[in-house]
């Protein structure tokens, strides 16, 4: 009896705690959404009236649209490159045995651990030499470096739980090693690969510091937002944020649907 009461008390506390966490996580949205529809000329909360003006100002400003297109190009390029390279690294780490493997294993997370700004400065130095500063694919390369560790971690985890006998079976039944990986291994770790690709996309789409240093005049969306805040604080940035959140939301939904929905066993 006492025990049960104590337990239900604990449950109430837990619920309150979780409520708080949830509130702090979503609270910014409750501010950003209303402000994006604000009728005022400056950032104020609560907004005095409803208006589409900041969305129009976003759509009608070629600089914003250009930044959006650049960001999407960079993020998609990063997704493809980082997923491809990261998956290969994950395979070599989980399956391979070669001298220095344990060092690769330790160093692979380095881009996450080293402060972003150090990477950004270093990239700037290298890119300046090859005249990559200001090119969207330069930013893409920088973001790929930053996104690869996420892919390696996620795909590596997927590979570790994969039953290697499956690959042996495939080879015993007549598949070459490559065919075995293609027909048997990859389809089964597909959810991990899709999650990794999604992470790579978000990582790039949200990234500011590397873009700040390497994108030059060809700004990405976060860089454009940053400049906007510094030079002319107006609610356009709220409208852009809402659009960005919606885009990411769509990507998440698609990833979940595509990654899991088609697989009858999960």
């Amino acid at each position: 009896m006492v025990n049960r009461r104590r337990r239900s008390g604990f449950r109430i506390l837990l619920a309150i705690y979780c409520g708080f966490v949830f509130f702090f996580l979503v609270a910014p949205l409750f501010v950003v959404f209303p402000i994006s529809f604000s009728a005022a000329r400056y950032l104020t909360f609560p907004p005095p009236g409803f208006s589409w003006q900041w969305y129009l100002s976003y759509i009608n400003d070629p600089a914003w649209i250009q930044a959006t297109i650049t960001s999407i190009k960079v993020a998609l390029g990063t997704t493809v490159l980082a997923t491809l390279l990261g998956t290969m690294v994950a395979f070599s780490l989980v399956r391979g045995s070669y001298p220095g493997r344990s060092w690769v294993d330790r160093l692979v997370a380095a881009p996450i651990i080293v402060p972003n700004i150090i990477i950004a400065v270093a990239l700037y130095g290298v890119f300046a030499r090859f005249q990559l500063v200001g090119a969207w694919y330069g930013v893409m390369l920088g973001h790929t470096v930053y996104a690869i560790p996420f892919v390696v971690l996620v795909v590596g985890a997927g590979l570790r739980t994969f039953d290697q006998n499956q690959e042996l079976a495939a080879m015993g039944l007549g598949a070459s090693r490559l065919e075995a990986v293609w027909h048997v291994t990859l389809p089964q770790i597909r959810p991990a690969i899709i999650s990794a690709a999604f992470l790579a996309f978000i990582t790039s789409f949200d990234e500011l510091i590397i873009a700040l240093f390497t994108s030059g005049t060809n700004a990405t969306l976060p860089k454009k937002m940053f400049e906007n805040i510094i030079f002319e604080i107006d609610p356009t940035i709220a409208a852009v944020s809402v659009l960005q959140i919606l885009l990411v939301g769509i990507v998440v939904t698609l990833a979940a649907r595509f990654g899991v929905g088609m697989n009858p066993i999960r």
Partner: protein, 362 residues
């Protein structure tokens, strides 16, 4: 020509010797079991035959062709794995079609072969199911269908019955045996389960510590084991250490270390003074009325009686301290033998198998 011959296969992992010069021959359609405890090298042997592991020395020949340098995919062997290793993201039909697709077989032929293969294992109609929607027995049939669909030169079975419950296991064993007979498949089967080996095999290779201790028919390895290890590993046994004291009238007179005298049929190569192990299977002794007049007559007290339905098992303490295991057909209530009672039995000299002990100088 043998379908499979292993010649002098040796393999070690670091300092550990996994296989030590193993020779084995399988004739067309023969079902051979590699039987041994874990760590005996039996799995290593199968992996070498399949090509997943490379031997340090020796050759693997399939129908006279040396496949030592061939990748697993080029060896044309159908393998059923311990946990079947069905591909969970493919349907039953896709699983079975996999080896054919890898061989670039035409679409029409694939359909026909897959149909034949699934019919063979009585799984017609399950084409569109996924492995997770099947029972354990059905999954195993799929694995079997997948292993035979491309007409392999050799069927390899790696403890395929371990995951099934007893009743299903016995049913599947007989089904596999029938299938193997019907298709005349040369089969190499690996297991640690001696009962399974006895049921299925044409011949059994008993492995211990990287060597084949004995190769023979199920009857031979059970009734006439070549070593103490084989006698002990297969079935239940009464094993006694002793020495040949004399040979009279074609009978070996063996004195056990506990002081009993046993008579066994004489065998070539055994002479007076040899150290031997004497084996009696528990079902061999015949009940007697008591009295110790004849040869190999014994009597003792039942110290443990276990009723098992079709049989009853008694542990008997013979006068003189020796323990003896006896197993006779199960009896009705009226003929219960219980603990504390007396039991008298006699062993025919033909039912006593004598194993020479290596280096018999003791």
């Amino acid at each position: 020509m043998s379908d499979l011959s292993l010649k002098g296969i040796a393999k070690h992992f670091g300092d550990v010797v996994a296989l030590e010069h193993v020779d084995l021959e399988l004739a067309r359609g023969e079902f051979t079991t590699i039987l041994g405890p874990s760590g005996s090298g039996k799995t290593t042997m199968l992996r070498i035959v399949a090509g997943f592991e490379h031997q340090d020395a020796g050759q693997v020949l399939v129908r006279g062709k040396d496949v030592t340098q061939l990748a697993p995919a080029k060896r044309n062997m159908g393998m059923v794995f311990q946990n079947y290793a069905l591909f969970p993201h493919m349907t039953v039909a896709e699983n079975v079609a996999f080896p054919l697709r890898m061989r670039r077989t035409g679409r029409a032929e694939i359909r026909e072969r897959v149909g034949w293969s699934l019919d063979t294992v009585a799984l017609g109609g399950y084409e569109e199911r996924y492995p997770s929607q099947l029972s354990g027995g059905q999954q195993q049939r799929v694995a079997l269908a997948r292993a035979i669909v491309f007409d392999p030169e050799l069927l390899l079975l790696d403890e395929p019955f371990g995951a099934l419950d007893r009743k299903l296991r016995e049913q599947m064993q007989l089904e596999v045996k029938r299938l193997q007979r019907r298709l005349n498949l040369t089969t190499l089967f690996v297991t640690h389960d001696q009962e399974e080996a006895l049921i299925l095999s044409d011949s059994i290779a008993v492995m211990n510590a990287g060597r084949i201790e004995q190769l023979g028919t199920p009857r031979a390895v059970y009734a006439e084991p070549a070593s103490r290890f084989v006698a002990d590993f297969i079935g239940e046994s009464n094993l006694f250490q002793g020495r040949v004291r004399a040979i009279t009238n074609g009978l070996l007179v063996i004195e056990t270390e506990a002081g009993h005298t046993l008579h066994a049929r004489a065998r070539d190569g055994l002479v007076e003074g040899h150290s031997v192990s004497a084996l009696v299977r528990p079902e061999r002794p015949q009940p007697t009325d008591g009295g110790l007049s004849g040869i190999n007559d014994f009597e003792g007290e039942i110290i443990e009686a276990v009723y098992m339905g079709e049989s009853e098992k008694y542990r008997v303490a013979l006068d003189g301290g020796l323990e003896f295991l006896v197993r006779w057909p199960g009896q009705g209530e009226a003929r219960t033998r219980s603990e504390g009672g007396r039991l008298a039995f006699s062993i025919s000299p033909d039912d006593l198998h004598v194993i020479a002990v290596d280096g018999s100088k003791k």
